[in-house]
Amino acid sequence: MNSQAVTKQSVVSLPTVAGWLIVLAGLMGLQQILPLTVNQGQQSSWLMVPVVGGLAWLGLVLSGNTGFTPLWAAGVSNWQRFGRPFLLGLSLGAVMVLSELVNPLGAELQTPFPDSLIVFGQAGLVEEVIFHLFLTTGLVWLGSNVLLKGRHQTPVF
């Protein structure tokens, strides 16, 4: 994607990032006011909102420079964007449930319902922004665009 297209794509994605931050802030607000049972490591700080916003924005810019499909790419159907991945996620979850029947992990590894709705509503967005949107694109950009200076950029898949 050329730099003009990357900039346009980043601007188009801004309302989406703003929406994510509003959802994240809302869930964090609920976590602050409701007496939730959370495991260690699941406490969250308000600092997370601007950090996630910054990383998401940076990741979206980097993803345009590294060949990842843009957030609202015209050629991607909603089934490909939401439906099929969600079904794959349900399947992975079912695999984990089956594995627990063989080797029970115990309830203490889990956050009780309905607190889990708030905790994992936040965690899903935060983890995806950090691991995929920022780290994956950042590492690809660092390796491909900086270290290899744009050489060997033939797509593998």
């Binding site: 495991n39 260690q40 490591g41 990741g59 979206l60 993803s63 060949g67 990842f68 499909t69 843009p70 957030l71 609202w72 790419a73 991607v76 490909q80 964007r81 939401f82 439906g83 099929r84 991945p85 969600f86 079904l87 794959l88 996620g89 349900l90 399947s91 992975l92 979850g93 079912a94 695999v95 984990m96 449930v97 594995s99 627990e100 063989v102 080797n103 992990l105 115990g106 309830a107 203490e108 590894l109 889990q110 956050t111 009780p112 319902f113 309905p114 889990s116 709705l117 994992f120 965690a123 899903g124 967005l125 983890e127 995806e128 691991f131 995929h132 949107l133 994956t136 898949f157």
Partner: protein, 72 residues
């Protein structure tokens, strides 16, 4: 990182089987999520994550909690 966190928080529960489960869970969501991100954009990776969390962390954990409540 997350396997390390499980080991830190639940040292008495850690086992090779648990490590394998964590690797399947974390590796599966990360690898498949990266592929979907590359092919269909970030929404696809996010949808995968939420589908996984819905079954594993919300419905299943809620079920465990409900069973414990009934048994107690």
């Amino acid at each position: 990182m997350q396997v390390g966190a499980v080991y830190t928080y639940f040292p008495n529960k850690f086992s090779v089987m648990l490590g394998g489960q964590m690797l399947v869970m974390i590796g599966g969501t990360l690898t498949l999520g990266a592929y979907l991100f590359r092919q269909h954009g970030f929404w696809a990776a996010l949808s995968l994550r939420y589908g996984f969390y819905l079954v594993w962390h919300i419905l299943w954990a809620g079920g465990i909690g409900a069973i414990q409540y009934v048994l107690s």
